[in-house]
Point group: C2
């Protein structure tokens, strides 16, 4: 069946039906995810799941970009990263330029990972955060317990495919139903990050559970696929804001009391190519919302700027650049600077290498004398993990499938995968009208 | 006396001493504006002022870009606008290109003003808003009453010079002291807008009240100049957010109830050149903060985007563009769109002509069929005017001179006028160390 007709039908829906909820909300009448409709199908409960259908177990899937755990994984990581047009748009030349750039950069990037201890700590932190959050959820949300933690990385192990196969092995889907929450670990939504992870999740869901792609599935198996919902953005969640504020306060306390309020806070987020910004990507505005909320929480005692890091290549990226900002301020005599990684929740190469070993090193060479410092990443912060649990609880309690905002494509979007992905997630809980879409 | 040495001295101060308050705050120890120091000078009270010095009358000066009230004023308006490197950075060619562009654009822009009724309503609205706010303040803040409304436009009458001379005629300054509040009517701070207005205000203060520029001033006159404080940004003030939310709700109510929550809200702000964004201008992040707050207030029922309008010339500007966004969505079948002017508080050419006559007209030509609409500008909204009064009251009660953030230059700033201006305002209430700076 052609993909054209359904896509045209979806086009209207993707921009007019913006979000779904399981339950009626006070202010508006969202389309309801009908438990009845689901229960009418003969769903065999998964081995780990009881027969109540919408109760537990619940899979909590943390989505992130990931990073190579060892230097041997750097090549594979970079090749996936540069192959992803959602993250690094290289146009028609993606298939040629992507491998070329990733091969050329591999030796340099291997050295960077070697210098931060031989690999990225993001897997360790993600698995820890997910597991700890699930422990809390088991207490606070007995209805949907047990909550089972999973991690799905976009460019490193465990990849989305690996996570999905584990879900199936653990008794979810393939006729056994079960509920899974795709929980983005990017607090602010970008099509380059959360969008790319959702596209990948949708792709593997279609490959592994769509009846059209899997003609050997029985009718029951096709009917009882995993029901997905998405926590797609949480830039100003009070717990997230509190966790940032705590870590910023801690580093501010390392400065003498009489200058503490004069330290300039530089909130640093990964930049985006201007082509993505100009397409209408929501990320810059959501990062700014986080920054405003954290400043508000800190009582606006310190001056600050939102700056953007990790620009690569010759095309235009959003600024001001973190590295230039630090250099300029230090040269102007403003040496007391705190860098805050504001768009990523675990340590990664951009904090441990780029900020700690490059930006701060350069500042010291210009005479900063140790006065440029970094707030710790959220990593194992109990406040942060509690925030994750609160967020997840609110999502589960509300029966929300995604935010209203997730349904709206960027005004300049030409990516049909993105359109189909949004339509798939928004239609969760309804009949699988989208199963025939090919990838 | 050379400007060089003081500027070098200021450089450090401008980035380390970030904000001043008249009164001690709970969280931090700001530098205090010492009423005592002021009272030690022999200050002759202005004719309209009592002798308590820090009590009323208080001049409330609304700063904005302004607009030509008649088509005859368009030429002068444009020539000032294109001469302003803070707003339109044309580099070394400003003096040549500015007049050239403004002369070439004048006939076209005259027609635009003719089509919206022969002139900009911004003077009418600004004078009304300032006067109404002062009436409320006289009730809520008898200590600083009477509050006298003034308007100072950057490019149209009444210009800053005219406003300053009126202040002097009305009994402020020149030995008679008196307090004036520069209240920016741009809720979000940009060096192109509020920064440019403050540079202009500082310039005329130096020309009219600095002892060095006015050797005929007596010692008393020089000492008793106007004391300025600045309300420099208020992007998420609850009253502002409420006023926006009210007007958005009103226009949403014009759509049928069953689709009301599916209408896409497009928050539209004047764009900035990327050279200004990349210099570290705080405006994009503050506009995003407003948008987030308004969406929060509206209960996040509708999908939305923050988009940017009024790009001119060949250089790169921040996007996504408002006009392209509307065209793309309408062509995709998403015709129910509400445009919200989010960075300007009164109607102006960018709402009445660009949005109403260009963007919406084009949408209708593409088949939008009247479903693309605009939220009313704040104009005479009583909620908005109350918000202004609340903001001003909080400022007067706190004895604040400016926000902490105002003291911090952009990381890529090379504008020495900006540096000196910040230093001037931050030093208000202290001895006039800056009086010798030349312009």
């Amino acid at each position: 069946m052609s993909v054209q007709r359904p896509l045209q039908q979806l086009k209207k829906r993707a921009t007019t039906s913006q979000c779904l909820h399981l339950q009626q909300k006070i202010h508006h009448k969202p389309r309801i995810w009908q438990p009845q409709a689901r229960q009418m199908a003969t769903v065999v409960p998964p081995v780990t799941q009881n027969s109540t259908g919408f109760k537990g177990p619940t899979a909590m899937v943390f989505m992130n970009m990931g990073g190579p755990a060892t230097t041997d994984e750097v090549g594979g990581f970079l090749s996936r990263l540069f192959a992803d047009g959602d993250l690094i748009p290289l146009g028609a030349l993606q298939g040629y330029l992507g491998p070329l750039i990733s091969r050329r950069r591999t030796p340099k990037i291997k050295k960077q990972y070697a210098s931060i201890g031989g690999g990225s700590p993001i897997r360790k932190w993600s698995e820890y955060q997910a597991a700890e959050m699930c422990k809390i959820l088991d207490q606070t949300n007995p209805d949907t317990a047990p909550h089972k933690p999973y991690v799905a990385f976009r460019y490193a192990n465990p990849l989305t495919e690996e996570m999905y196969n584990r879900l199936l092995e653990d008794g979810f889907g393939k006729g056994r139903g079960g509920r899974a929450v795709a929980f983005t670990q990017y607090p602010q939504y970008s099509c380059s990050t959360t969008g790319s992870s959702l596209n990948e999740l949708w792709k593997w869901r279609q490959r592994l559970e769509s009846p059209t792609r899997n003609p050997n599935l029985t009718a029951n198996e096709a009917e009882g696929s995993i029901l997905w919902s998405v926590i797609d953005r949480w830039p100003t969640h009070p717990g997230l804001v509190e966790a940032f504020a705590e870590n910023i306060t801690k580093v501010l306390e390392t400065y003498p009391e009489d200058i503490r309020d004069k330290v300039v806070i530089l909130y640093s987020a990964h930049s985006l190519p201007m082509s993505v910004v100009n397409r209408g990507d929501p990320y810059p505005a959501e990062v700014a919302a986080t920054v405003w909320a954290v400043q508000q929480r800190l009582g606006r005692k310190n001056p600050y700027r939102l700056v953007w890091q990790s620009q690569v290549g010759p095309s235009a990226w959003l600024g001001a650049q973190t590295s230039d900002t630090v250099k300029n301020y230090v040269q102007q005599g403003q040496k007391d600077l705190v860098l805050v990684p504001i768009a990523f929740t675990s340590d990664h190469i951009e904090t441990l290498f780029e900020i700690d070993q490059e930006v701060i090193h350069e500042a010291n060479e210009l005479g900063a004398d140790g006065r440029v410092r970094r707030a710790e990443s959220l990593n194992g912060s109990p406040t942060f993990i509690n925030a994750l649990a609160n967020l997840a609880k609110a999502h589960l309690d509300a029966g929300e499938i995604c935010s209203r905002q997730m349904g709206l494509r960027c005004p300049g979007c030409k990516n049909e995968k993105c359109l189909a992905q949004k339509q798939f997630f928004m239609n969760q809980g309804k009949q699988d009208t989208n199963a025939s879409l090919t990838l």
